[in-house]
């Protein structure tokens, strides 16, 4: 069976998907993941997950974020100077996320 592999670069980071392996059981899947995905890339931890256990929904199925104008959900809509640095940080994260969404939708990413 196939196991999807998730690698965490350093402690405290998120585990992100990096590939998959064929293996008959979990222990072998971990071993193969170690060999295939943990040797050169900086690795602190690996997860293996049976492929069949993963559910997926993608842009073929749904419009993420909806199809109506939801600008009221974004900090940038409210045109005031951020009250504090953490508010400004949140706003710039949101602004970056929105730009990435846009460029994907418009196809220049």
């Amino acid at each position: 069976m196939i196991w999807e592999v998730f690698r965490q670069k350093k402690a405290g980071d998120y585990h992100t998907h990096c590939g998959n392996v064929h293996a008959p059981d979990r222990d072998m899947a971990l071993l193969f993941a170690e060999v295939q995905h943990g040797r050169r890339m900086p690795t602190n931890s690996l997860w293996v997950v049976p492929k069949d256990e993963i559910g997926e929904v993608d842009t073929e199925d749904v419009a993420f974020g909806g199809t109506t104008d939801k600008s009221y959900r974004w900090a940038m809509t409210y045109n005031f100077e951020a009250a504090a640095e953490e508010v400004a940080a949140s706003e710039s994260e949101q602004s970056e996320a929105e730009q990435q969404r846009r460029s994907v939708v418009e196809g220049d990413d």
Partner: protein, 335 residues
């Protein structure tokens, strides 16, 4: 794990899970995002982290319930949409945090939600006070959310990794809440004279509670020492309160709000603000902290009723889950 008690239970756990980390090691290693579910943390750490995260999760839920009526009472479609989006976000934050708390192995999500319903669950002082009028909404949505965000930004560096990961998403979303709150405040303070007066009145009512948001001074805080030694808490109550005042007093003044005379707030030579803690009603604060403050009990019971009203949803979902994964068989892909 909770059901295994006593020295024999402890011995069994040691055999099954290996030796738990001792407190000294925890204190030495305590850095940002240092510990996760695979570390065998001592019970003292797991309990302290559970207390802190559960409090945070409960506060998200109770805050959402406090603001919910204003989805209906919003004066415009934009505000209605924003308030419903915000309330939805806050409930989501609660769920994220219950998951982070659950990962410590002390309490389950169901246990924590039940504790909140039966009055044992603790949550932020500000969410014990009912909100009656639209002019009060920026007191929560701008000032209290701003105060919460100040605290949450520091918790991105907490030592319990699942808690820090929850904070990444919470802080990402929270910027919208604070700025939307500011937009309401701006609108009210540039509105009619009547609106401005009503907003000032609401501000005077809420201001001392907002100052108390950060809890008692460090000297009086019972849990601070340990939580900061093991890296759960990143900044003391006093530091957080000062940072909040430095950002939000100028904002309040900018919109023409007058800072009430009590509690006395002094401006230092370097432009930072200091509050005279003795001017605040700490009896009321500690009564609230015990869930014994009358209006707050109403808030708790209100949520309990809402939770009971939708019990059928949870039950049908549980039944459905049982149907799929129940009956002692492991999930399909484990073979």
């Amino acid at each position: 794990m909770q059901s295994i008690g006593g020295p024999i239970g402890k011995w069994l756990l040691t055999i099954v899970y290996g030796r738990e980390m001792d407190i000294e090691t925890v204190k030495e290693r305590a850095g940002p995002r240092e510990f996760s579910a695979k570390d065998d943390m001592p019970e003292e750490y797991r309990k302290a982290a559970t207390r802190m995260i559960q409090f945070h999760a409960n506060s998200e839920i109770m805050g959402a319930y406090l603001e919910r009526p204003f989805i209906r009472q919003a004066p415009s479609l934009e505000r209605k949409l924003a308030f419903s989006a915000k309330t939805q976000d806050e409930l989501g934050h609660g769920q994220l945090l219950y998951r982070a708390a659950e990962s410590l192995g002390i309490k389950t999500r169901d246990e924590m939600l039940d504790e909140l319903a039966n009055g044992e669950g603790k949550f932020l002082n500000c969410f014990h006070y009912p909100m009656e009028s639209w002019v009060e909404t920026p007191m929560i949505a701008f000032f209290v959310d701003g105060a919460a965000m100040r605290r949450q930004a520091t918790l991105k560096n907490t030592s319990w990794e699942p808690y820090a990961h929850a904070m990444d998403k919470v802080c990402f979303e929270e910027g919208f809440h604070v700025k939307h709150g500011e937009a309401i405040l701006h609108e009210l303070m540039t509105g009619s004279k009547k609106e401005q007066e009503m907003t000032q009145e609401a501000f005077e009512k809420w201001w001392p509670r907002i100052i108390q948001f950060f809890g008692p001074t460090d000297k009086q805080s019972t849990h601070h020492g340990f939580a900061s030694e093991v890296g759960l808490k990143q900044m003391s109550n006093d530091e957080l309160r000062r940072a909040f005042l430095n950002s939000y007093v100028p904002k309040a003044e900018k919109y023409g709000l007058e800072i009430p005379d009590t509690p006395r707030i002094t401006k230092n030579d370097d432009g930072t603000y200091e509050v005279n803690e003795d001017d605040l009603d700490w009896d009321e604060f500690f009564q609230i902290a015990k869930n014994e403050y009358e209006p707050g009990v109403g808030q708790i019971d209100g949520r309990k009723k809402a939770q009971e009203a939708v019990a059928w949803v949870r039950e049908s979902m549980d039944k459905h889950e049982q149907g799929i994964y129940g009956g002692g068989e492991s999930p399909q892909a484990a073979d």
